[in-house]
Amino acid sequence: MVPLSYYLVLSGILFACGVTGFLIKRNIITIFMSIELMLNGVNLSFVAFAAHWQQLSGQVFVFFVMVVAAAEAAVGLAIIIAVFRTRETLNIDQVNLLKL
């Protein structure tokens, strides 16, 4: 038996790692991976609460989060490719215009 709060603490630590990566990383792909890390942390807390409250809808929500994350990854990586084509860099400090 593992207390529910241990799962939530692990989920919080993963989310904090994602936020820290978002703040300190300068490579646009690594920043994108930090966002995926945050989504994974939230998924863990969804599944932990689903097990705690004996409600399967938490797991269905994880399914929806994964679908949205996959769609987001496809669009985001296409945007990264478009940005790299015009600017030839992946450093976000050199990407300061929305215009392509």
């Binding site: 529910l4 603490v9 994974n40 932990a48 705690h52 929806f64 949205v68 296409a78 015009t86």
Partner: protein, 172 residues
């Protein structure tokens, strides 16, 4: 006891992978440590009895999404990250804020919660029950996500397609 040992081992692997993602300079190393994080999270899902979620975590996240990431990293030939001085506000306020927030949340969860505990396989997360929920109660959100995925596919094709204007500008 066995459950707690499994939880601790894979939780430690998970946090180690997440920290390694932050420490590594090269994006490909970060991507591979993210695969480690996702694989050990799938084990945590299995411990909670969410078999279906664990399977799609491995197939969709560690499989499809990370292949996409590695593909883009190799396509763009991304080298090691340059250390430019970014925003000082992010370093001076953001990181202490994140650390303080995490400590407060962990402290509150560990000392103030009377939430109970979860045992191995606490909830039957078989695909059958999930499908019954997904195709009856959550049918409308399911259809909406299918439209979302369709729009995302079209958007990705439009964004990644090489346009003529971008090509001529590069030649100038």
């Amino acid at each position: 006891m066995f459950h707690l040992v499994l939880f601790s081992v894979f939780g430690a692997i998970c946090v180690a992978g997440a920290v390694n993602l932050l420490v590594q300079r090269h994006p490909i190393n970060s991507a591979l440590s993210l695969v480690v994080v996702m694989g050990s999270l799938a084990v945590e899902f299995l411990l909670l009895g969410a078999e279906f979620v664990a399977a799609i975590q491995v197939i969709v996240y560690a499989g499809a999404v990370m292949v996409l990431f590695v593909f883009v990293i190799m396509l763009l030939n991304a080298g090691a990250e340059e250390r430019t001085r970014g925003s000082h506000v992010a370093y001076l306020l953001g990181i202490p804020g994140v650390v303080a927030g995490t400590i407060i949340v962990c402290w509150a969860l560990l000392t103030r919660s009377h939430a109970g505990s979860a045992s191995i396989g606490a909830l039957p997360g078989h695909p059958k029950e999930i499908a019954q929920l997904l195709f009856h109660q959550f049918l409308l959100p399911f259809e909406v996500t299918s439209i979302l995925v369709l729009i995302a596919i079209m958007g990705a094709v439009v964004l990644a397609a090489r346009t003529d204007s971008a090509q001529t500008r590069k030649e100038d």
